[in-house]
Symmetry: C2
Subunit: 354 residues, 2 copies
Amino acid sequence: MKVTIKMIAEEAGVSMTTVTNVLKNRTDRVSKEKIELINDIIKKYNYTPNMNARSLANSSSNLIGLLYHSVGGRIDFSDPFVSELLAGIEEKTKDNGYFVLVYNIETVDDVIKVQKNWKFEGFIIVGLSENSFEEIHKNIPSDTPIVFVDTHLTADMEKEFINLPNRYIISSEDRQAGHEATKFLISQGHRKIGFLGFTFNENEPGVINERFYGFKKALQESSISFDYRFFFTDKEFEKITDVLEEITALVVSSDYLAINLIHYLRMRGLYDKKKLSIIGFDDVSYAKFLDPPLTTIRLNQKNKGIIAFNLLNKAIHGESVDKITNLSGDLIVRESVTNVASKIGKQARRKNEK
Amino acid sequence: MKVTIKMIAEEAGVSMTTVTNVLKNRTDRVSKEKIELINDIIKKYNYTPNMNARSLANSSSNLIGLLYHSVGGRIDFSDPFVSELLAGIEEKTKDNGYFVLVYNIETVDDVIKVQKNWKFEGFIIVGLSENSFEEIHKNIPSDTPIVFVDTHLTADMEKEFINLPNRYIISSEDRQAGHEATKFLISQGHRKIGFLGFTFNENEPGVINERFYGFKKALQESSISFDYRFFFTDKEFEKITDVLEEITALVVSSDYLAINLIHYLRMRGLYDKKKLSIIGFDDVSYAKFLDPPLTTIRLNQKNKGIIAFNLLNKAIHGESVDKITNLSGDLIVRESVTNVASKIGKQARRKNEK
DNA sequence: TTGAAAGCGCTACCAC
DNA sequence: GTGGTAGCGCTTTCAA
């Protein structure tokens, strides 16, 4: 049998209001004796309020929407990159008394749907492009805070963004990460370097776009010209096999993609880590267990999830929060990159590994 | 501005009841013209009903609770074993118009909490021991269906379970899996075989317990006696190093644990796949990318998630459903197990790999 | 066919 | 301090 405020009020011989006041800890409005009495009854029946009624009555709900954006099913929970973020969020969220509704959004309609169906305290939305960002931002009332994870904005848009109330961004320094990854390859003597990433829109900022930008910048700084023949998307593994003799290294936009490529090549007897160095991004939990252990830029997704929640939590409580947070990546040197410049440095390659 | 039924009714010049009837497709109670008119308005405002109000008024909610049981934080979303299940569930769930609330439960109180806070259509609960199973089962009304994933019951309990309305179980044939894994090691000439698993209660059935049972059975069938010195928990890696010279193979209760062990040994210079064969369970997505590629029993978590949802969905709609579903595992032969019996068979070891 | 009204459980406002 | 009550948006029962 469901226990309600009314029942508690009856048993205690008080009004519903008084019970509510006790529930809400408005101690100045209820006498000490009643507080105790009511609390005892609450405990006795193990009463917990009905969230639907509560959400209906006011606007609070303790519900947080974790929305994953996926175009064409690209985002998959089995990708550790995704689940590690979730791990971070889930952990904090529960400790703070929230509930998380996980929803995969493909179109704006999906957002409108969750949005109207439930009352949310706030949203954490992952992986939105700038275009989708605008649409979605407009469709969620400005009194509901949103933390956008891994959304990148053009400079113009960013200026606007700064003034948007209740909208926050947390992402990695993807440009810097791409730059660092590439610089590392160059430092190891590589000159013919390719780039492999999930398909992205070159005219719109985004995680991969940013990494690609950092990649090109690093090449440029070393006066290396980039040959677009060495640019590949995740659908073009076979194109890579064609130029295997021409490139010595590859910047791959995620560990996940990197190991898939290695596997693809290996199955065809084409993988030789001495001849093709590979650096990834993320440092997923098993990157160090791979063959070869992956050299990568650690982005620490779990930590990102924790911070995303903290931002949201503060925003919900009306505390002031940084509009844009950028987490820097760390180069993790393992064994998928070979030094082709000299024989020295083989030791150094392990420095980051414990 | 939120659109409500009332507003729609006003604009259409009808009563709320009529709008509801259209919403519910009760076409026999409304005239054709009004149906069209109302539908137009609904479309125009992109109306979607408020779930909180709806849930409050009736008992439906379109909400499914995905509850992960973790004692001492053992279950972690970054463990692919967990996230792959979620991937399967999320996929189906959305297609069928449900929303998923993900919650990590540690105690029965946690269950009571979610349970009273929200109205759920049903639950998918993962990783419950028999004891917790009973407690939780009792605390959720019997008209709410629950699918228990990976819960194992003793024979007595199982008899009772069969008659419990709205309770279902889906799990893997863990005993058979343990048996198969061990038999494979034996077929490869191993005789000194150890077992490594997360700590478990020997008196209570459970995933690892079952695998261990199958393990012992296989040994027995080959008249190999089991030495408890070769039994290890996840906290006892160093105990393994002590007997490294004595055992030639290890059955490890999950891929996740297996790679952690390999890494642990490798870091100490103690890993030699020729001298220590390892077989895991799950076949997590990256098992084939590891060094060495892991020989394992594939359990297909994603598929399990899909099936779990299907069971629940049918149960919610009152269709009859199998009380207990068992998914069999498949031996996937890769390279972490060495044939110590003969020189032949090295070819065969690759047969399962594409 | 259509509509009025009660009630789901809770909160906030206002009165005593 | 305490209590009454309207109302959140929706569904269902009963009446017209």
